[in-house]
Amino acid sequence: MRGLRAGALAVLTAAGLASAYEAPPALEAGATPLPPVALRRIAIGLTQPVYVVHAGDGAGRLFVVEQAGVIRIVRDGQLLRAPFLDVRRRVIAGGELGLLSVAFHPRYATNGRLFVNYTTDGGNLRTVIAEYRVSAGNPDVADVAERVLLEIAQPFRNHNGGLNLFGPDGMLYVGMGDGGSGGDPFNNGQRLDALLGKLLRIDVDGATPYRTPPNNPFVGRGSARGEIWAYGLRNPWRFSFDRGTGRLFLADVGQNAWEEVDLVEKGQNYGWNIMEGTHCFNPPTDCNTNGLRVPIAEYGRADGCSITGGYVYRGPRIPGLVGRYLFGDYCSGRVWALSETAPGRWAAAQLLETGLRISSFGEDQDGEIHIVDHSGGVYVVTAR
């Protein structure tokens, strides 16, 4: 998504754009060869899709989020004409703003609850996390009634994070960007009294509008917000839990030079804006890295300009891919597979050159990995 910002820069002068970036080395090759894979398109004709997800109800449907504020259903390879949910009148979209994700409750099949994450305006730009429910009469249509759980003011129009995702623990995780502009001017990433620049964890079942889980790391610590699960993030653009191990992989979009993948653990600090990837950002040299977690993978401008996080493959159809974390880049369209070659040692290798504007990855209920093209299509990764 950050590619949009780079595009806007390019109108100044192409020479200026080039000189603004360093040329870091390419990614390392992986230890074991990757299986040959291909993409198969399963939907086309969407308008700026930014996410795809299943409802976990065994119905075989995929739900595609269009940035302007519409959720649409793909069933048996068919994009249904009627939207599942249309909240365009509530959403402000464009650039990095919009309806950015939906999460279906772990017991959606019985309770019909779903949770959206979008930006809205009307004088104070903010992120809204709100609940909707499926309609009583039609499983392919949601009720328009909204219950707001949480609103978070956004000082700038970029870096909105925006993924709602239920963890294996039944809690709702919410990725929040640093509030935007560039360089994190309000230092939100490192401030524990702000919800921006964080991964949040809330309980949507324990209370109204939500409950802060008492085992969150900063509960009861002075002015710190109890909702925070991890901090020091710039713009988490997609994260996921490994179905096999429960580990949390998060892609954090970089500032000028370095895109990163983090393995997120409770209460940890992922470094922004002290560090960008494994490099000092503020100050640019001799920064204090004490207590900061470094990414398990990073890449520079030779490979792309805005990371999109994916999933650890645990599906049945491509055995050679099992256990590898797939992620991509919005600008270059490349997809890499990241493997743990020894405990704590990671190696990435390029899996695909898609030519797509990769706005998101997604899984179906079986664990097959999908890729969302911001230009309007959804693809599934298949064995070749």
Binding site: G94, G180, G182
Partner: protein, 361 residues
């Protein structure tokens, strides 16, 4: 209180005009909405034209080819606004600009960018974007960029026609911002880890530091619609101060909010643009600021013992040149007025927009 001040103004204005003589000459012609101007130590003068051109004048001649063209949103009051050269320009060749452009989705966005003068081509290149994605609007984009005597970069940002943002300290809109020249936050800013220097502003477009005291003064456009008329302001800016918009205007008072040191009242509009303190000549120590709608240059003499007390307020050149966007003092002590009749609100003469060179003796 307004009335008595007006009387003082008239009397002292007459006295002072007798004591000094002003001569004016047309320095440059044929510009399009010159919004701001700054001086390089090598003698070049850099001008920002609102439609997006940065022009250079050398030896009194406007260079025909722009130093740089920036794709801006040239709508209503928006576009290329402030320009300032780095105090160490001779060493680093940095130039700072603020402008409104169309972000993704066509929305108006303000950004602060550091440019660099390429010594081989004599043209500008982009160094880095210092601040981005600040909400923009057709009106109220602020836009003044100036270095303070402390070496910090100040940027005025308007409320982007969303007035409640001015009271939200987590929003950059309706603020005077203070940054290091590389875009990072100075450690001694009034709010920790925040670029906000003062807040509660509607559309501030003039910044000037008083010589000797280093006190900062700012001009600000007052309301023009539903919230009554006029009340254009001159504020004495103290770090962390709340200047009241949209809660109070004019003479209204509220605890914790700082009223202006002078405002234009409920009938008269200045529409104040740029501001500067004069350092030489008979006007030395005076605060000057321009009027767009007022089509005048305003001169304020402050009480040296009271930063909030206006001793003299006079109106000069009213209607003589048209709309005045900015006033600057050159290194040689000459004053320059930037005329802005081609900004869609004026009546341009054939050779507008002009830059007027003003000498006070």
């Amino acid at each position: 209180m307004k009335l008595s001040l007006s009387l003082v103004v008239v009397l002292t204005a007459q006295l002072l005009t007798q004591a000094t003589s002003a001569s004016t000459e047309i320095f440059l012609r044929g510009l399009e909405v010159p919004w701001a101007m700054d001086f390089a130590p090598d003698g070049r003068i850099f001008l920002a034209e609102r439609p997006g051109r940065i022009r250079v004048a050398r030896d009194g001649q406007l260079q025909p080819a722009p130093w740089m063209v920036i794709e801006v949103a040239d709508v209503s009051e928006a576009g290329l606004l402030g320009i300032a050269l780095d105090p160490q320009f001779a060493q680093n060749r940095f130039v700072y600009v603020a402008y409104t452009h169309r972000g993704a989705g066509g929305r108006l966005v303000n950004r602060l960018v550091r440019l660099r003068d390429d010594p081989t081509t004599g043209r500008g290149t982009v160094d880095r974007v210092l601040m981005d994605e600040v909400q923009g609007a057709p009106n109220h984009d602020g836009g003044r960029v100036r270095f303070g005597p402390d070496g910090r970069l100040y940027w005025t940002v308007g409320d982007a026609q969303q007035q409640q943002l001015a009271q939200d300290r987590a929003s950059p809109n309706g603020k005077i911002l203070r940054l290091n020249p590389d875009g990072t936050i100075p450690a001694d800013n009034p709010f920790a880890n925040s670029p906000v220097y003062s807040y509660g502003h509607r559309n501030p477009q003039g910044l000037a530091w008083q010589p000797g005291t280093r006190r900062l003064y700012a001009t600000e456009h007052g309301p023009s619609g539903g919230q009554g008329c006029c009340r254009d302001e001159v504020n004495y800016i103290e770090p962390g101060g709340n200047y009241g918009w949209p809660v109070i205007t004019g003479d209204e008072r509220r605890d914790g909010m700082v009223p202006p040191i002078v405002h234009s009242g409920d009938r008269a509009t200045w529409a104040p643009g740029g501001a500067v303190f004069v350092t030489r000549g008979p006007w030395a120590g005076s605060l000057l600021f321009t009027g767009l709608r007022g089509q005048a240059l305003y001169r304020v003499v402050l009480d040296p013992n009271d930063p909030r007390r206006v001793v003299t307020f006079e109106t000069r050149f009213e209607g003589q040149f048209g709309r005045l966007r900015d006033v600057v003092e050159a290194p040689d002590g000459a004053l320059y007025l930037l005329v802005s009749n081609r900004d869609r609100r004026g009546s341009p003469a054939a050779d507008d927009d002009r830059v007027i060179r003003l000498l006070i003796r």
